[in-house]
């Protein structure tokens, strides 16, 4: 669905490139996370893929065609949820969605059904100016889903949401994936990416030093070790030969164990190690 090869971009009057030689591909039905700190170039990459930023070098293809060659009908097939609310504040949630729904030629989904997906159906007739930032972000997501697009570009979709709402949003993203939607997610929230992305790519200083499935990366950058916390303190055991390790087996039967943790890295650890020399 998305293919990027050797993508570079320099903003006018900038001395250094914002993106430098990015390459990645995203298959249909995949959730792909582009992770990195603010200013790393995540939004720039997204803007290029959405056809909003010309003047790049390299290859950027979306839906099998080079970006910028599909004309305005391209926007019938993609849905975008921006990092900040982009809504009419004096209109209600339902009025906002009705307005944007009218701009698409393809059939749009029922507004109240969409609002219910993010628990906003009871607020359908409330003006957006009375919404919290989290509610506005959820309405942003509704707008992106209105025309049932094939590809979704979601920029920090859980920003401003409390943990319970953020979980609802993550569950919705996974549901969309199960319906066959391709999702391009940009975030600096590593735990969120770990939970919902099939693959992630770390972006630092315009480069992607590491990419892959979160589980693979965590194993690759972690230690093959088991941390056993007991009432008398922590104990480390190598994973190799664990089943025959006499000390470990003794602990298992001692009734002193508080917790057991394998020592794979977190995505935060992977990011820090992978970008240390970029």
């Amino acid at each position: 669905m998305i293919h990027v090869e050797n993508l570079s971009y320099v903003y006018p009057n900038a001395k250094t490139p914002t993106l430098s030689g990015l390459s990645f591909s995203i298959a249909k039905g995949e959730v792909f996370g582009l992770l990195g700190p603010s200013g790393a170039g995540k939004s720039t990459t997204q803007k290029i893929l959405m056809g909003l930023l010309p003047g790049f070098s390299g290859t950027a293809q979306v839906l099998g065609a080079p970006v910028g060659t599909l004309g305005r009908s391209f926007y019938e097939k993609i849905g975008v949820s921006f990092e900040l609310p982009t809504l009419y504040l004096r209109l209600t949630a339902a009025e906002n969605l009705r307005l944007f729904a009218s701009l698409f030629d393809r059939p749009t989904r029922d507004i109240h059904e969409i609002l219910a997906l993010v628990d906003l159906d009871v607020d359908a007739d409330k003006r957006v100016e009375a919404f919290s930032k989290g509610m506005k972000m959820r309405l942003n997501l509704c707008r992106a889903l209105l025309h049932d697009p094939d590809i979704l570009f979601l920029d920090e979709p859980t920003t401003g949401q409390d943990p319970a709402r953020a979980r609802t949003t993550r569950e919705l993203i996974l549901r969309l994936k199960s319906e066959g939607k391709t999702i391009f997610l940009t975030t600096h929230n590593m735990a969120e990416a770990d939970e919902i992305c099939d693959r992630v790519a770390f972006l630092a200083a315009g480069h992607i030093p590491v990419s892959g499935a979160p589980a693979d990366l965590k194993r690759q950058y972690g230690r093959r070790e088991l941390l056993v916390t007991t009432t008398s303190g922590p104990h480390h055991f190598a994973m190799e030969g664990l089943g025959t390790n006499r000390d470990f087996l003794q602990l298992l039967t001692s009734d002193q164990i508080v917790s057991l943790h394998t020592q794979e890295a977190s995505l935060d650890d992977v990011f820090i190690k992978a970008t240390a020399h970029v």
Binding site: I78, T86, L91, L99, S102, F104
Partner: protein, 244 residues
């Protein structure tokens, strides 16, 4: 069938409805649109009293003829300001960016707003000209068309030059002054043509020549059309460049 070259009728109606809801919930925007009607209406009712007052206190006869030009052109400033201010708000609050990811696009949406401002201003100015301006119907029609174009120019001027809504309010003071520019045309000096770089100047020039010489009127109309189109194209290009 499309409206403004790219919108289907139901899309146009939906956008108009949303704009009407949006404006109706902001007292300042309502006031600006109402003021667009107030100036011509006041002049219709108090024209004679104004002329008597001007004659007695300022020594100017038929002042209302000159003020009529300003009153009939006032809707361009007020409706153009509302259209421009709404676009500034859309840019600051984000809906304009969201429009860019829809089939109509950012510029498509701007053209829609300009079309509405033009049509609304044209209609009001035509009625105001009919009641206030003592010139032939063809001149009144052309006057309303040019005033309609001015509302689009003003909306673009705000969007292109104001970095935020506060700057938009400051620029509106400058825009209000443009309503006085047609009066330069009654100055009996060649230097009055310096005002010709502003499109509104030519509205005054049209009236100066309307009763005097058909050739002068035709030439004024030609310059008026050129000045309006140059400003409209220039502001459209500047807006497109500023918005990226």
């Amino acid at each position: 069938m499309t409206i403004a070259g790219f919108l289907k009728p139901y899309q146009f109606v939906r956008l108009i409805r949303a704009d009407a809801q949006n404006v109706s919930r902001d007292p300042i925007l309502i006031m600006m649109i109402v003021l667009g009607f107030v100036a011509p209406i006041l002049l219709i009712f108090f024209r004679d009293k104004l002329d008597i007052w001007a004659e007695n206190t300022l020594g100017i006869s038929v002042l209302s003829q000159y003020v009529s030009i300003i009153a009939a052109a006032a809707p361009s400033v007020l409706i153009g300001w509302v259209a421009g201010f709404l676009l500034l708000e859309d840019r600051d609050d984000g809906p304009l960016l969201a429009m860019e990811t829809t089939p109509i696009g950012k510029m498509g949406f701007i053209y829609y707003r300009l079309t509405v401002a033009f049509v609304l201003t044209f209609a009001i100015s035509l009625i105001a000209a009919e009641m206030l301006l003592l010139v032939g119907w063809a001149v009144r029609l052309l006057f309303a068309l040019l005033v309609g174009l001015e509302s689009a120019i003003i909306a673009l001027f705000l969007l292109a030059l104001a970095r935020n809504k506060v700057e938009g309010l400051a620029l509106s003071k400058l825009i209000n002054v443009s309503l006085l520019i047609p009066l330069l045309a009654i100055i009996p000096s060649f230097f009055r043509y310096a005002g010709g770089i502003f499109p509104t100047y030519w509205l005054g020039e049209m009236f100066v020549w309307s009763d005097v010489a058909p050739a002068g009127l035709t030439l004024s109309l030609l310059f008026a059309a050129v000045a309006h189109l140059v400003w409209l194209i220039g502001m459209t290009r500047l807006t497109a460049r500023r918005l990226g």
